[in-house]
């Protein structure tokens, strides 16, 4: 195979093309509804700057007078609304539609990066605990147990009061909160993998422990990690929203869904519902799509569940 000239495309294509094709075939099997929701949210979040939107962080100005338009304007289809601000404005006259769209960035970054980082740390620690055993196992698992003894949200608030408000701080907080879930699951999986023949054989041939963990154990726990990853994203997004809602998450004026809902709580009691409700629906759609995909992935990757 090594002698095949680069210019002649082999029938299977390069490894990258192969992986891409496999990935695409995999994605085509995925359920349609959550894929469409996720794709549209991703699209809007990435290209928000190119869309004809008002600035999410400053009040919308009246075209004639140049002064800010009225605050808490209702959505366009209600009395007093205009199509310039389709979903209305908040009490600082900022455009809700634009804030909801830009807010997707915060939720996506926090949800994806936070759970990925937590997954990486948790997987490494879980593998070390499960494969190395002895003191590694005792120390890592005792800390993991203590870590899991605090309720997620309370722990996140606790960490938030150390790190202070800020987008990347929330990412760090979610990483610190969620690694323990991965560690526990991965360790359990490694404990049974360790006894399997292919690991024993690798040990007999003199492979180093690091090599066994990377080449033989890691590929076999990836399914578990991926399922856990997809099921944790939704929780992470809700935790971020809760932190922002409580005022210890992303600082204003950044558009974040939890923050917008907190802003809208006062007006809501006066009957002006749109400030809180639209970001709430956005959270719901995103988490719903993430969970649906997670469920599908769980069934797809676990042969025992496939026929249920």
């Amino acid at each position: 195979m090594a002698n095949v000239p680069q210019t002649v495309a082999s029938p299977v294509g390069s490894p990258i093309a192969q992986t891409a094709r496999k990935g695409w075939a995999f994605a085509r099997e995925a359920p349609l509804l959550p894929m469409v929701i996720l794709a549209s949210i991703l699209f809007l979040a990435i290209f928000a700057d190119l869309l004809p939107l008002h600035d999410p962080e400053v009040s919308v100005k009246d075209k004639l007078t140049g002064r800010p338009v009225a605050g808490t304007l209702p959505p366009a289809w209600m009395d007093g609304g205009t199509w310039r601000m389709p979903l209305g404005t908040d009490f600082q006259s900022r455009d809700i539609l634009s804030r909801v769209i830009y807010g997707a960035r915060v939720s996506l970054i926090v949800g994806l990066v936070g759970t990925l980082a937590a997954g990486a740390i948790g997987t490494v620690l879980g593998m070390l605990a499960g494969y190395m055993g002895k003191w590694w196992d005792q120390v890592i698992m005792r800390i993991t147990d203590a870590w899991l003894a605090l309720p997620t949200l309370i722990f996140a608030i606790f960490l938030a009061s150390i790190r202070g408000a800020g987008l990347w701080n929330i990412v760090i907080i979610l990483t610190l909160v969620f690694w323990s879930r991965y560690a526990r699951q991965v360790r359990a999986e490694v404990l049974s993998l360790r006894e399997r023949d292919f690991v024993k054989l690798a040990e007999v041939t003199g492979a180093s422990r690091v090599r066994i963990m990377l080449k033989h154990i890691l590929p076999n726990v990836m399914n578990t990690v991926m399922v856990l990853f997809s099921l944790t994203i939704g929780v992470a997004i809700i935790i971020e929203a809760s932190l922002s809602f409580l005022g210890v998450g992303v600082p204003p004026p950044t558009p974040a869904w939890g923050l917008m809902m907190a802003d809208g709580k006062g007006p809501l009691i006066g009957g002006d519902w749109w400030i809180s409700v639209f970001p709430g629906i956005a959270i719901m759609l995103l988490v719903l799509a993430a969970n649906l995909l997670g469920d599908w992935l769980r069934v797809r990757l676990d042969p025992q569940l496939r026929n249920r």
Partner: protein, 311 residues
């Protein structure tokens, strides 16, 4: 069995001990409470030192930690920096409110989750099953605080049926309890439904249920007696954990409805850097969860010999 129980108790105590170290260290990383609590921003360094000395913050961390753990063993969490009274007093004054909210939310989650889960499993792929799936999905996808806000909008503002904040003067002021407990129980109803459904499905596919059917036992007896009774074990496990979680994770709901529970005590303690309050209430939360897990482990081992022999 005895060996199993002893080893589990040992590990639980070890976990709690590590937890005290984590909580103690982290709470000290949140900042200097003296700076926050000195009334004037321009308070002199001598004033701050006096405050720190008053609270025992000028001592080394090791001394402070030794005192903290020593007091915990005597059931004393120290005095609140903010309120000047014993943390145990404040905590146990708040705890009944949290218990009340959690109990109501718990009942709601069971009432929604369990029957719907059973019907979904029995009438697989029917309309009931679809409704069940939808409730389970929405339960996990709609954050409790959004449910709370929508409830306030509908029942508090538009219909004006229910009060939107507070907990009322009497323990039995149920109308104050309805919205917060539904908002809190919503999430747990979803997971309860999922578990009931999958647990029922597993049991319904088992041989003894098939045998009961072959014998001609009426279908409702099969479902209620043979299937549900055996599907109960994981449901009870989850229920126990959820009740404890509900006491401790209601922060956001408590803040929205201004419900004076444990969650808002922790939040207030953290924002005010009230170390004793934070240490005490977090340790209590941890102790509850570790305690329930321990009880469940032992219960399981009692029911299933395979577990106690392997562990």
């Amino acid at each position: 069995m005895k060996r199993f129980v002893l080893s589990r108790v040992f590990y639980s105590i070890l976990t709690l001990w590590i937890l005290t170290v984590i909580i103690f260290t982290m709470v000290r990383l949140t900042g200097d409470p003296a700076l926050l609590l000195s009334e004037y921003p321009g308070a002199s360094e001598a004033d701050l030192m006096a405050i720190r000395e008053n609270w025992g913050l000028n001592e080394s961390w090791i001394t402070q930690y030794r005192k903290f753990v020593g007091n915990v063993f005597q059931g004393d969490f120290g005095r609140s920096f903010q309120f000047g009274v014993s943390v145990t007093d404040i905590y146990f004054q708040r705890l009944p409110n949290s218990l009340q909210l959690a109990a109501a939310a718990f009942i709601i989650s069971i009432v929604i989750g369990v029957p719907l889960g059973i019907i979904s499993a029995v009438k697989l792929d029917s309309w009931w099953d679809n409704i069940g799936k939808l409730v389970a999905l929405l339960g996990l996808a709609i954050p409790g605080f959004f449910v709370a806000l929508v409830l306030i909008l509908i029942f508090g503002v538009k219909l004006d049926w229910l009060p939107v904040i507070g907990k009322g003067d009497h323990f039995w002021d149920v109308k104050y309890l309805l919205m917060p407990s539904f908002a809190l129980g919503w999430y747990f109803a979803g997971s309860m439904l999922r578990l009931t459904r999958s647990s029922m499905l597993e049991v319904l596919g088992s041989d003894y249920v098939k045998l009961a059917r072959l014998k001609g036992v009426p279908e409702w007896v099969v479902i209620s007696k043979h299937a549900f009774k055996n599907a109960m074990i994981p449901i009870v496990t989850l229920a126990g954990l959820q009740l404890v979680l509900m006491i401790n994770v209601a922060v956001v709901i408590e803040v929205i409805f201004q419900w004076p529970g444990v969650g808002s005590l922790i939040l207030g303690g953290l924002t005010g850097r009230d170390f004793p309050v934070v240490q005490g209430s977090l340790l209590m939360a941890g102790a509850m969860i570790v305690g329930v897990n321990l009880a469940l482990d032992i219960l399981y081992a009692y029911v299933d010999p395979r577990i106690r022999l392997s562990g």
